[in-house]
Amino acid sequence: MSYSEKVIDHYNNPRNVGSLPKGDTAVGTGLVGAPECGDVMKLQVRVNPETGVIDDAKFKTFGCGSAIASSSLATEWLKGKTLEQALEIKNVDIVQELSLPPVKIHCSVLAEDAIKAAIADYKRKQQDGQ
């Protein structure tokens, strides 16, 4: 398996690895994938309550280099976006940016799912809070 330079760069220097406090109402957490399939992604966003803009994003990923790169890239893209803009990030954008081969497309799909799950979690918290 040969990787694109961008995948290798994200693997060696992952952006935004880490965790945000799960209990924080401003934080949305998405946990997708399954260990038995070889991919699990945890992606978190923190939304500024004043502006509605994502001001921080973190990830942790169990998976191949492409899965790590997909989630690392996703956190980079999420920062500074509104929730509506964030939901516009599609897996094909990730495939294109990282030059993922066909067998690795599922990694980008997982990253898109993780974004959606994190935002859904955030929205649920806001509703519950009201």
Binding site: L31, P35, G38, F62, C64, I68
Partner: protein
């Protein structure tokens, strides 16, 4: 001085020993004759060289020269043994027994025979990778003509109890074939001590060249007959037609004789390296699991699962070390190793597995480098793993509770 990438994938293939190569070279140029040419010295020279090699290969496994049939490699040997015996003894029965952890060359050959109307029993293995002898005994019927069980597994290095299997087969009048590719030259392997009727061998797994292998076919007590799978000029006593690969065979012979002479010292040395690797990794890391029996194992094999770390990402981080992974992502099928699955290793740990294959040219210095490098990358990836985080949180909850 370390040379990168460090090669620790000696189950996949081994480099040709310089002593082997040196002996082979003249057979490409000056001594290029066809071993089947009866009318001139080129042919005689080639035939003589093949005779020497045949004896050397035979000596490695306690056979006689006439019992060695040269092939293109172990895949062909497995095909010839299993298809050849099944078709020859079809009148006697149509049942074969093998094991789920066999190499694909055996499994897929058996599957092919199922389409020809044979019944095949694929026995499971125990958690340690060994076949359950009681289950094997129970599987043998009056229709059973062949048992094919490997001597050593290529992924987890587990050594099957072939002497017991051979004895059982002999008692029941069933032929016993063993794929001895990984075992021969690495651990003592004797076709008479283990009552083996056929054994597949490969040169490139014992520091010989690729493209040459052999099938041992017993000639006495019992005499084994095979229906050939390749038709042609009737070489190799009619069992395998085709011009002999003389330089390859010369190399195979030399490789076999070196392996035999150095077996005791090498297996002790390589076991030492393997233990150094295993101890080093266990000193640096928690939650690592060795797949397969530690006791019944090839000297050079260490198959390890690093919990919470996916194998392919680990390989990516240790790209200055040449090893292989049981992870799905490394294969086109996205299925993790069927061998690890058969041992009952969960998919999650199968995805986290690395096979280290140590061999003749590995050194302590290399092992020490590998311990440091692998440990550092595993630690980094665990810090990045949500599973590791969840497990640690769980642990804290347990401790607090």
């Amino acid at each position: 001085m370390l040379r990168f990438p460090i090669y620790m994938d000696n189950h996949a293939t081994t480099p040709v020993d310089p002593r082997v190569l040196e002996l082979m070279l003249p057979y490409f140029t000056d001594r290029f004759g066809n071993a089947a040419s009866r009318n001139h010295s080129y042919g005689w020279q080639a035939e003589e060289a093949v005779d020497v090699a045949r004896k050397q290969v035979a000596e490695l496994i306690g056979a006689t020269a006439k019992e060695i049939v040269f092939t293109s490699g172990a895949t062909e040997s497995d095909n010839l043994a299993i298809k050849g015996a099944a078709r020859m003894y079809r009148e006697k029965g149509n049942h074969l027994i093998t094991v789920v952890t066999e190499h694909k060359a055996v499994i897929d050959t058996c599957k092919h025979l199922e389409k020809e109307g044979f019944d095949v029993t694929y026995l499971p293995v125990k958690r340690d990778g060994l076949v359950d002898l009681d289950r094997l005994r129970a599987a043998i019927t009056d229709r059973t003509i062949l048992i094919s069980i490997m001597a050593a597994n290529n992924e987890v290095g587990v050594l099957q109890p072939i002497a017991e299997i051979g004895r059982m087969a002999r008692e029941r009048g069933v032929l016993f074939h063993t794929d001895a590719v990984q075992a021969a030259g690495k651990v003592p392997f004797d076709v008479n001590a283990s009552s083996v009727d056929m054994a597949s061998l490969s040169a490139h797994k014992m520091y010989g060249p690729k493209g040459v292998g052999a099938l041992y076919v017993r000639r006495r007590n019992p005499r084994v007959l095979l229906t050939p799978i390749i038709d042609g000029g009737g070489h190799e006593r009619g069992m395998r037609s085709g011009t002999l690969n003389v330089p390859g065979i010369v190399g195979f012979g030399k490789a076999a004789s070196i392996s035999r002479e150095e077996l005791a010292t090498e297996s002790a040395r390589v076991t030492g390296l393997r233990n150094r690797l295993s101890d080093g990794l266990r000193r640096e890391l928690d939650e690592i699991y060795i797949n397969g029996s530690v006791e019944h194992r090839l000297p050079g094999n260490l198959n390890v699962s690093f919990a919470y770390v996916e194998g392919e990402s680990l390989l990516m981080g240790i790209n200055d070390i040449a090893v292989s992974s049981g992870s799905a992502c490394t294969s086109a099928t996205l299925e993790p190793s069927y061998v690890l699955k058969a041992l009952g290793t969960g998919d999650e740990l199968a995805h986290s597995s690395i096979r280290f294959g140590l061999g003749r040219f590995n050194t302590e210095e290399e092992v020490d480098f590998v311990v440091q490098k692998v440990s550092a990358v595993v630690k980094r990836l665990r810090e990045m793993s949500p599973l590791y985080e969840l497990a640690k949180e769980h642990e804290e909850v347990k401790i607090r509770g």
